[in-house]
Amino acid sequence: MNGSDTTADVLKARFPLAVEGVSTFRSDLVITLKREFLRDVARMLRDDPRLRYNLLLDLTAVDRLKLGITPRFATVYQLYSIPRNQAVRLIVPLPWDGETEMPVCPSVTDIWPTADWLEREVYDLIGIHFEGHPWLRRILMPENWVGHPLRKDYPLGGEPVNFSGDRDNPRFAHLGQQIMEGLSFPSELPPGVDPENHMVINLGPQHPATHGVLRVVAELAGEQIVSAHCDVGYLHSGFEKTGESKRYEKFIPYTDRMDYLSGMNNNLAYVLTVEKLLGVEVPLRAQYVRVILAELQRLGSHLFWLATHAHDVSGTIHSLLMYCLRDREMILDIFEMFCGGRVTVTGMCVGGLRQDIPPAFPEAVKVFLREFRKRFKEYDAMLTRNPIWVARSQGIGYLAPEEAIALGITGPMLRAAGIPLDLRKVQPYSSYDHFEFEVPTATESDCYARYLVRMREMEQSARIIEQAINRLPGGPFRTADRKVVLPPRPELDTSMEAVIHHFKLVTEGYKPPPGDVYGMAENPKGILGFYLVSDGSAIPYRLHIRGPSFVNLQALDTMARGHLLSDLITLIGSVDIVLGEVDR
């Protein structure tokens, strides 16, 4: 509380005219700024020794058309200060007369380079022009797309569901019309690329080592990379727009499908955000089980990363791919036992868990841990001192700590640069403070260091799971708040009140108070953030996702310069991306 007061005071003292309002909602500090002052304020927030908001976590915008607020558009900046462990949100309303094509906002790319892709995303999906952005063009949608999907006057789209299968019926004549003519090459090359003197090659979107549908435009001088620009959006699925058309709880299954290797972690980050918005407390047992599930998922995600990374870097370590996937199956079995799903789990609900753990669960987890620890030693021995592995990853892709922060990197990549930012430690959620664990870091900040950090993280995850399973408390597995979770089935037979609650919840859902919150959690890949704006109805007015893979991938260009083309594969693997989350 102390810290947040300082921020507003310091800001008001320095720029008395800039601040339009200061508010706190659910312990989030929100400052509304005048547009003219944005860049000055931003620079001060970053540099002032009392504030030091060095990490721009998120940048998005809200179309407030249906809220009836003028001006219609506002940009939102979520800042975080690593040294002070404080966050602040800036909201900048953008005056717009509606006569120009889009409202204008000053760009902050030179203050926080991470804003580059984030601003392009806002430009693409909401249609805001960032003045001073070096290369403002669409990032997720195809280049020739018309309109900005996240505007509130833009329809959700899609097609009526065709149950009859009668394709000759003229009613279905328009099916498939949304498919556009493809452009095989980007109409212009990224800035600075020199096709006269260098060779420009295309990697992806279908390439076995890009972990999905990433496309990289690499500029080469001989074998050496001059620049490596990513072209993303090949898996853009409209998560945010979909979320804005569904009730809060109905978005949980979608979170599984974002970063599909860490379904449980995504669930956790999302339910934490909604719980923050609602002000719901979760019972201790549920918190512990959530930790177990999230850490198991982290192991699963890291194992998958290890499998594919080792496979990409050296085809000879193919056996490791098989070993890791075999172990991951054990984790998936545990998930299946818990909730019936393997990949898309939807294991948590707002207020706790969907169901309690089955009786055989603790034993299965213990068996897994025993096996995992034994095998993990082998994998460690196979790679850590393997000369080929070391030669291919040591010294590759150095990223200075300041650079990493400026680019908004989080997760193992940031920790491999020597910055021990782990939300589980610095802002413990879901009882993470009850467990003993370390935050592994390294200082070399190369691919090998990232590998080591992830390996050590797996050991720590196993440690957390063990503590949680041994000390698992009894009690309810979800909150008793009937406004949020359904009453247990037997209660419906005896209590009229329970029937009413059940009916209201099923037909209407819960309605959080109006306001906006930012929730986040430490995912295997970095900080996953959700920004929710509630207008008081059962459907989120604005739902924005900060995908750690998306932000981390931006560093690829910086890391790749000067290395060989074959190192690009190592680098993509060491960022650990999942395209579902990059493109959302």
């Binding site: 095989s184 279908q206 699925s237 990949v343």
Partner: protein, 163 residues
């Protein structure tokens, strides 16, 4: 055709069949899928290739990175509008004969993503041989699809027509 395989009989066995059947028999047990993961379903496709489910039992474990070496495209996930032309081109790059499995709800009909971004079924772009329901389908379901496809290949009547 199959001569002397049964060592005990001592004589050459004779098997009468059509050329189509022999070729189909060869083709169906040597499907080469493309290494082409789109979304969450790809995780289950990879799991199908991993030790527990072991797609090699059905002769389809040789995943190839280049479409020019493949005859099976497993569309494992949602196809966005930006990806649609790429999928089509990849299909066109595969040599004949070639087959397509639409794995999962998304590639079959759009799945949970009925919105502006996702193509509502990959069959709008390329012909699909087998649809696999599920979100994602379990690896067993994918294996079942491969068996179904094998049956379909075996039924193929005339060599040379482009199916």
């Amino acid at each position: 055709m199959l001569q002397g395989q049964d060592g005990r009989s001592g004589s050459l066995g004779i098997l009468l069949t059509t050329l189509e059947q022999v070729v189909n028999w060869g083709r169906k047990y040597s499907l080469w899928p493309m290494t082409f993961g789109l979304a969450c379903c790809a995780m289950e496709m990879i799991a199908a290739g991993a030790p527990r489910f072991d797609i090699a039992r059905f002769g389809a474990e040789v995943f190839r990175g280049s479409p020019r070496q493949c005859d099976l495209m497993i569309v494992s996930g949602r196809v966005s509008n930006k990806m649609a032309p790429v999928v089509k081109r990849l299909y066109e790059q595969m040599p004949y004969p070639k087959w397509v499995i639409a794995m999962g709800d998304c590639s079959s009909v759009g799945g949970p993503f009925n919105n502006y971004a996702i193509v509502q079924g990959v069959d709008k772009l390329i012909p699909v041989d087998v649809y696999v329901p599920g979100c994602p389908p379990r690896p067993e379901a994918l294996l079942d699809a491969i068996v179904k496809l094998q049956e379909k290949i075996q039924r193929h009547e005339k060599l040379g027509d482009r199916l």
